[in-house]
Amino acid sequence: MAEPRVRDALNRALADAMAADERVVLLGEDIAGFGGSFGVTKGLLDRFGPERVRDTPISEAIIAGAAVGAAMSGLRPVVEIMFMDFVTLAMDAIVNQAAKAHFMFGGQCSVPMVVRLPHGGGISAGPQHSQCLEAWFAHIPGLKVVCPATVGDSYSLMRAAIDDPDPVIFIENKALYALKGDMPDPPAAVAIGEAAVARGGRDVTIVTYGACLGHALDAAKALASAGIELEVIDLRSILPWDEAAVLRSLQRTHRLIVYHEAVEAFGPGAEIAARMADIGFDELDAPILRVGSPFAPAAFSKEIDSAFFPSSARLIEAVRRILA
């Protein structure tokens, strides 16, 4: 069989979870007959039927809100919001209802739901179809936020997210759906909250996730020829995030760059940098740097879109600064 893509891994994870647990149901716009805007749910309608693979109206608020009520009443819904940008319309369900229920109701119930959100720019989709809003959710106690970057992690994290008793924001990068990669058989064990060292190195730690992982590895390869060894950490989970893994790496390299596609200001990197400046202070041999998108909406024009994207060349520039 051809090397699977991220899209195939997600599809297989959904199928395997549905086969293993009849409480798992899928809700989303055009996910059944059409197979989802990015083809992630193709074939699932035929296999599991319209009761469990449900096309919804274009009503993000009720899709997400119904998933909360269904989860409270014993189902394990997986919601697809077509683009992460549209999640603005579903924020009450996620922030005020799902995230609070376990705490607010004294543990009487939990909300085992997954919200799938495709994020990321670089495809000229413009300001309302490109955003990386993960920091919003990482700011909400009660949610978990994951963002896989590889084929294997896409499968394993999806299974972990569906098995998790708490609401999980599952972020998929649009640029990665077609990425090919290894799909271990049996799939690797992955826990939410556990980072992976994607490349070992002694000079600078790069903490990243999602589509930026590939760019970080490109930069690491280019710099290796100049004798600079980056240690690239694939965070995989943004909430909770693997502080221990980042700290372990910082103890080796004493230099940290957080690298993500989300807008740099108040992005996930801000929390990681602040936390490491606290618990890792005595390890630091240079200021912690962040590389992210500039403080501006994404744009349609390819030129602007490219200029805003935190490319691996920008990461290399930051590496040079941190080694100065």
């Binding site: 919804t56 109206p57 809100g65 119904a66 009450d92 005020n96 109701f105 009660g142 826990a191 909770p240």
Partner: protein, 332 residues
């Protein structure tokens, strides 16, 4: 046979049920009257929204429900919690913020919930309970358990888009939902007629949802209509809507001086008074009614005393309760 003889005289077969309504409404009235004084005395902090005057709605609707049915309520949700069967001590422990409260003191009045009796929570967000009931109904439908989910909302929520999304999807997916609108004429501090132009019967019709619209001050009429609608839902699985015109006797919240309010022609009566008249006409003695009311008062006081003796809620425990599973869920 639910059919009632037309005002001809006492229906002895219905009398036990009617007395039960009387008792339930008195308990809710007592509960909320005590909450008003506790709030005024500073024993309860935060926000308290009372449903005094709307007891017939909660009691009449819940009379049609079974334990397995679920109800997602509003910020004015004490009546729904008690009528759905929540134990009074659990209720007061929660409202007083105690560790033994149903929600461990984390929800208070505005989010009170009791999953054990299918009460999915009062809700601090106007319209917030609607999608929860939709999801719960979906779960009932997929499990095939024959249960119904009740989606409570007020007339203020008619202006929220989520109502329209909920009606659409309930009708589209044929979900076992009973929408219940407590229409008290007030959208918080504004008269609903000043802020909303829609007509609920027309709205229900637009989504193909059968509906009933009646005065909410007659518990027997409410119970009858709700019973018929719930039976219909159980029969064909499709959603129904009931709109109850009620009267909010108190303010939006306790402490609301209601300076904006010049109406209250009181075209709706107090449902408790209303129902007492019916019982007297049916031959129940005033002494018997007073006795029931007094028993209700005693039950409420006893629960309150238990609650006052409860342990204070615990901040350390609360920090551990943010997640059902802290840290990592693992695949493989």
């Amino acid at each position: 046979m639910r059919k009632q003889k037309a005002e001809s005289g006492p229906d002895t077969a219905q009398l036990p049920r009617w007395l039960d309504f009387h008792r339930s409404m008195h308990i809710i009235r007592q509960v909320e009257s005590r909450l008003a004084t506790l709030f005024a005395d500073g024993e309860i902090p935060g926000f308290i929204h009372l449903s005094i005057g709307q007891e017939a709605s909660a009691v009449g609707v819940c009379a049609a429900l079974e334990l397995a049915d679920t109800i997602a309520s509003t910020h004015r949700g004490h009546g729904h919690a008690v009528a759905k069967g929540m134990a009074l001590d659990r209720f007061f422990l929660e409202i007083l913020g105690k560790d033994e409260g149903a929600c461990r003191g984390r929800s208070g009045s505005m989010h009170i919930a009791d999953m054990g009796v299918g009460m999915l929570g009062a809700n601090g967000i106007v319209g917030g309970g609607l999608p929860l009931a939709i999801g719960s109904a979906l779960a009932h439908k997929l499990k095939g358990n024959g249960a119904v989910a009740v989606a409570c909302f007020g007339d203020g929520a008619m202006a929220e888009g989520i109502l329209h999304e909920a009606l659409n999807i309930a009708s589209l997916w044929k979900l076992p939902v009973l929408f219940v609108c407590d229409n008290n004429g007030w959208s918080e501090f504004s008269a609903t007629k000043d802020v909303i132009s829609l007509d609920l019967p027309q709205l229900a019709r637009a989504f193909g949802i059968a509906s009933r619209h009646l005065r909410g001050d007659d518990v027997v009429a409410v119970a009858e209509a709700a019973g018929q609608l719930v039976d219909a839902i159980r029969g064909d699985g499709a959603p129904r809507l009931i709109e109850l015109h009620t009267r909010r006797i108190r303010g939006h919240f306790e402490g609301d001086a209601q300076r904006y309010r010049h109406d209250d022609a009181a075209d709706r009566e107090d449902p408790l008074v209303n129902h007492e008249s019916r019982l007297l006409r049916a031959g129940v003695t005033p002494e018997r009614l007073a006795e029931i009311a007094e028993a209700a008062r005693g039950e409420v006081e006893a629960a309150l005393q238990i609650a006052r003796a409860g342990r204070a809620a615990c901040a350390v425990g609360a920090l551990d309760a943010v997640y059902a599973q802290r840290g990592a869920a693992r695949y493989g």
